[in-house]
Amino acid sequence: MQSRKTATLHTPNIKLTAVKSKLNLRQNSKSALWFLAPSLIILLIFTFYPMVVTVINSLFATNVRGENARFVGLANYVQIFKDPVFIKSLGHTFAYVFITSILTIIVALLLARLVTQRIKGQAFFRTAFASTMGISAAVASILFLFLFNPSVGLVVTFLKAIGAKQTNLLVSPTGAMFILILSSVWMGLGFAFLNLLGALQSVPESYYEVAEIAGWSNWMQTWKITVPMISPTLFFLFVVEIIGKFKTFTAVDLITGGGPDNNTNFVAYKIYQDAFASHNFGIASSEAIVLTIVIAIATWIQFRYTERSVFYK
């Protein structure tokens, strides 16, 4: 034990605090384990075990009863990348994730800016904008389904009134995508808004006063002061939003059902269909693994390239 301690202390390039916490962890590891046990057990049962099973399933062909029939190695992976529907699904998922994440953050930022300005009814707007946090994805999806319902939908009625020819957006590929993006942005607004509002309010007013006296325009103040000051929050939101949007399922299931012509058949939904409609767990598992890897890479890219421009206080 003693020799190990000294070894750690002499390791270069490790911050002293890190060394300290490592030592403490080792000394207290027995009691620490007891405190960690409840969450560890839950993680083991509901996260790590399913992950391992998924990896195993992805290496097996599935029989008609949905059982692992025989070991096929990486054949499932080869097969899904030959499947035009899966490739299309991946592409559309990327587009959807990218557009929704950026839109959500931009709109939330605008709304937060609006609320931090001195306007009447500020408290009302603050609550209203944050309220989407309290609405479940299912309820929101039904709501949007109603809004765009071809016969009674409010939006459709409006479109008819202004003389639009194509009013049933759900049957057009871009229309269906549009509705999904809209509902998803709307759903994500509350969370992003609250985070950005907190970040905006933590920027001292005097920074803007200095800029005002130094003659910086409003736009330049946003660019030179606000964005760098809230960059940690922006970065956090991008990471969380992108991970979250990759997993979009409820809205697809309830609003478009993946259609028309698989145009909104995002990966998470395709996995579900392959698993529970086609009972092909082998294929579904390998798709799930691919999705996990894609999310991991997307997150890694963000940490590698975006985080450079983030300023931490």
Binding site: P204, S206, Y207, E209, E212, I213, G215, K313
Partner: protein
């Protein structure tokens, strides 16, 4: 730059923050705005800067009406209490941020940054981030940013209140030195009367939305216009004693009793309206002794309630006949000491009589016969 404020008022919805402010700040002057928190001094400063619009009245810079000009058109610089240094910019970039829009050439810009940093002795630290500097250094960067603009008017909003006492007195001298060197007009907001007294050429005392008094520090100390200024300027605070002027109008009756139980009073040669007044006496104008000198018309025995030893002197809280007084003692005092004798001042300049209701000063100097001027007679 010369600044004139004419009938300046500020209202937020129904609440009036400043009422009818009229004053003139002279070219090159170190002008201090002092007042308790909520007195509107920061609001007034921001109105001069153009950061807050005025409700009514005008602001003139060198006879030019700037009331509706935007801050950048007023050619001024401002230093803030929290320094307002952008944490993600280096020291020199923070200064550059302040002068970028002045339309200077690249070389001129660099020269200004160099000069300003040199003036505040921070050249070696110019590449550092603000976080890597001490509080005092950060405030110096903020000063350098103001200096680099070469603005004829610099506004400072409580620039030293985030610093510890030691640094504060250092920075006080530093700001006074910079002002002497550069010679700009400087308007300085503080709630600390010590800063106001030690730094300002002239001081404006603000309270309750209004100007209480404008004058040199010694004018404020020696001849406060009202009870508020009397109490606000000077440390420890001026004692304010409720007194009664009798029907003759010539006797100010104090709530104190001599050793023999006789009530104390000041006598005037000229009558003033009888009634209730407030008498202000500074702690440093009261003399303490620990030797019983018997009954004397100016001396009263007191009970010591509290002793605060400051080293070379002590501040005592004493009572006589249930009335409290704070007294400065030029020597150290044993904290077990319970009994002392306080001598009331007899010089008219050391007595400040205020009206009971509005607190305005009643001038006593002409209430004394010419041959007695300067001395007021205290009798039993």
């Amino acid at each position: 730059m010369r600044i004139q404020l004419k009938n300046l008022s500020k209202q937020y919805q129904d609440t009036e923050v400043l009422t009818n402010i009229n004053t003139e700040i002279r070219e090159g002057e170190f002008f201090v705005l002092v007042g308790p928190s909520g007195s509107g001094k920061s609001t007034l400063l921001r109105m001069i800067a153009g950061l807050i619009p005025t409700t009514s009245g005008q602001i003139y810079f060198d006879d030019q009406d700037v009331t509706n000009d935007s801050p950048k058109d007023r050619h001024l610089a401002m230093v803030f209490q929290n320094y307002a240094l952008l944490p993600f910019l280096s020291v020199q970039d923070n200064i550059r941020f302040g002068i970028r829009n002045l339309g200077l050439s690249k070389t001129e810009e660099e020269a200004r940054i160099f000069e300003a940093l040199n003036m505040v002795h921070l050249l070696p630290q110019r590449h550092r981030k603000p976080k890597a500097l001490s509080g005092g250094q950060q405030q110096r960067v903020a000063l350098a940013r103001a200096i680099a603009t070469k603005a004829p008017l610099v506004l400072m909003d409580e620039p030293l209140s985030n610093l510890d006492a030691q640094l504060r007195s250092e920075m006080r001298q530093e700001i006074v030195r910079l002002h002497k060197e550069i010679g700009m007009t400087l308007i300085y907001v503080t709630h600390d009367q010590v800063e106001a007294m030690t730094m300002g050429d002239r001081v404006m005392v603000l309270n309750d939305r209004q100007i209480q008094q404008v004058g040199t520090p010694l004018e404020l100390y020696n001849r406060p216009k009202n009870a508020f200024v009397g109490e606000f300027i000077g440390s420890p605070r001026m004692n304010i004693i409720d007194v009664q002027v009798d029907e003759t109008g010539q006797s100010i009756q104090l709530p104190f009793k001599q050793k023999n139980g006789v009530s104390m009073a000041y006598h005037l040669t000229e009558a003033i309206p009888s009634g209730r007044y407030r008498l202000g006496i500074r702690p440093e104008d009261l003399q303490v002794s620990f030797v019983d000198q018997g009954s004397h018309k100016q001396i009263m025995p007191v009970k010591i309630e509290a002793v605060a030893n400051l080293g070379k002197e002590a501040v005592l809280t004493v009572t006589n006949s249930d009335s409290n007084l704070v007294v400065n003692c030029k020597t150290q005092v044993d904290s077990d000491c319970r009994q002392a004798f306080v001598k009331l001042p007899s010089i008219v300049d050391q007595l400040h009589l205020f009206e009971a209701e509005h607190g305005n000063t009643v001038d006593l100097s002409d209430k004394i016969a010419a041959e007695q001027r300067g001395v007021i007679d205290a009798i039993s």
